[in-house]
Symmetry: D2
Subunit: 142 residues, 4 copies
């Protein structure tokens, strides 16, 4: 997939605390970068009030993540976390991630989120669903 | 203060993710070690049921911390987090920490905790207070 | 896969700092648990001197990770990180992870590691390869 | 000290992964914020090439930190990390930090850094010293 397939990218700078003894970003920290990415993506797409957004975040649970590490990020690197919704179900959302540094493609990821509250899955709010579909230019739901 | 001035020590092994590019533990992670230390200290001292303990943890807020770094811990080091209550007020607790690796004294710390719930300070439960005083062989309260 | 398919398990207790606002372990932290798991697994399997082990750790890079989250771990939970080598190539190792809490299966994971130094892949040391094959009762290499 | 006593402030947004079960930023993470603060401060003050800066970062070790927590930061808060050099010795630097969220003063901190390499203290490079003194409008050294 090309960097251009993403309509959303969020810039980050690698922090010292995120590196490890190998002098590169510790692998668990890429999950944090993706987490910042989905937060900022939903802020952009949702375009609504902050309380609603918080309500959404509190109901998003990751059920599966896959990360492919192509090249390491290093301290002080300016990276971009690219985020895209690939599929939107009734209560689940499949999200693709890429991390780039300039022309270098560092990471590809994919996470499946389910919306749930107190252990039960919930339907993703209709306003949010509509906005995601519009943002991603997805075909309307039947 | 000598290592022997502490009646409680909790062993930990330094994780890869806790190191940074300097090849030593990132300074912010020592706070996590102290936090694990106070948790295990209260478990030992409290000796009560887990639900009560959780209730306590949810009410403990740090208001001040001081850390002095004498020597760095490195990946895979087996360290000991020593914990001691130095003062016990109505709703506050001053706690001393030391981190040792064998004979090497790596860190001295001090934190003041206040007990609070929904923004208001609360009295530390009497059972817990009594147990801490007994554990530390503090003079009884008047 | 059953818990019994793993010959190695490492116990951990969930730290306060590893939870998030949802009251469960933040998803990125499971990567850290798996990282502690592979470290302890290699210590057990390698059974050699610490310097050699460090040499190994400094050369292990994750190229792909998949995590499936079945149920959340919570603060103070005593969990077990189960680790097993599923495939051992010349310079790569595919490792399976499971995290359990008592009878509850919380997470399944898989990571592919490559051995590399200064950007070039290296053959996994023969002693380590032999020990892993023996530990896992893998068929001998032709 | 007033917010206006600082000539440098760096904006940050609180990440989900930085919160804990209390719904606020975990106390150890404020150290990370201060660490990001000093990095950006030195970038601004140093105004030189990145390699030199990296050289500096690799030699900075914290020897003492004090943090006073006035009010908690929460998920998604936009905060400012204010940084100021209070004293500049031959190989040490005392730095003051404050974290603010709008009009609210959340944290005051102070760290003493020493410059060292392979276990020996080193003189802070003269160019960097001169730039810090100029930036902070400190009296020239005799």
């Amino acid at each position: 997939m090309a960097r251009s397939d993403f309509r959303f990218a969020h810039p980050l700078r690698v922090r010292w605390s995120e590196t490890d003894m190998q002098g590169v970003v510790f692998n668990g920290n890429y999950m944090n970068y993706c987490d910042v990415g989905i937060t900022e993506y939903l802020r952009e797409v949702h375009a609504g009030d902050v309380e609603q957004l918080r309500h959404v975040f509190e109901r998003m649970y990751v059920v599966k993540s896959t990360l492919e590490y192509h090249a390491p990020a290093r301290f002080d690197d300016e990276i971009e976390v690219c985020v895209r919704t690939a599929r939107l179900g009734g209560s689940s959302q499949r999200v693709l991630f890429e991390i780039h540094r300039g022309g270098a493609h560092l990471l590809s990821g994919e996470s499946v989120y389910v919306y749930a509250h107190e252990g039960r899955s919930e339907r993703i709010p209709d306003t949010l669903r509509a906005r995601i579909r519009a943002f991603e230019a997805m075909a309307p739901e039947e």
